[in-house]
Symmetry: C2
Subunit: 109 residues, 2 copies
């Protein structure tokens, strides 16, 4: 085992979970916040900023790219990573939809 049985859930559940999973790592949260706080957004900053190896940062960036929340454009020998505003807001809405479900306390409690 060790493999998640995705076929037992709806596509929506799988999709939401996989977004949350990608965001569920402190390095990736830190990367997003760093990109947001920076005027420019070059990858090499991150290696100095976070205390991780270049290969590790690159891997985290790849995962963030995979869900579309950031986007990298080549600028000479550097790469400029930025938040993909549309996707960011789309995620925000998706999470809101989930959290805005009515969670009133049930009789049994």
């Amino acid at each position: 085992m060790g493999i998640t049985k995705t076929d037992m859930y709806t596509d929506e559940q799988n999709k939401l979970a996989s977004l949350l999973k990608v965001l569920g790592h402190p390095a990736r949260i830190a990367i997003l916040q760093h990109i947001i706080n920076q005027k420019t957004c070059i990858c090499n900053d991150l290696v100095d900023e976070l205390g991780l190896a270049q290969a590790t940062i690159s891997q985290h960036l790849k995962e963030l790219k995979s869900i579309g929340i950031i986007q990298g454009s080549i600028d000479g020998k550097s790469v400029c990573y930025c938040i993909e505003e549309k996707v960011w807001k789309q995620f925000q809405e998706q999470f809101n939809e989930f959290f805005n479900q009515n969670v009133e306390v049930k009789k049994c409690c």
Copy 2:
């Protein structure tokens, strides 16, 4: 390796990431939605509802309990799991705070 270097991030980043991580599994999303949609909320329903073994469900419930988002109260030989409304709303606010950051496109892009 394989261990996340939590000491390089702020407490806030670690906390947010660990919440997102717990929610980042389709079984746990499905469990939360099932509890919400149900009038009552007994664990054994879940074994029939989701196609997972009882031991597996129990493990997922434990993780959800660990972040406080659900709460279980013993009711005879059953356990009644419900959403912890306060924590739910607290999380919602936390995620909103994160997503409401200004993510305007930067010059470099």
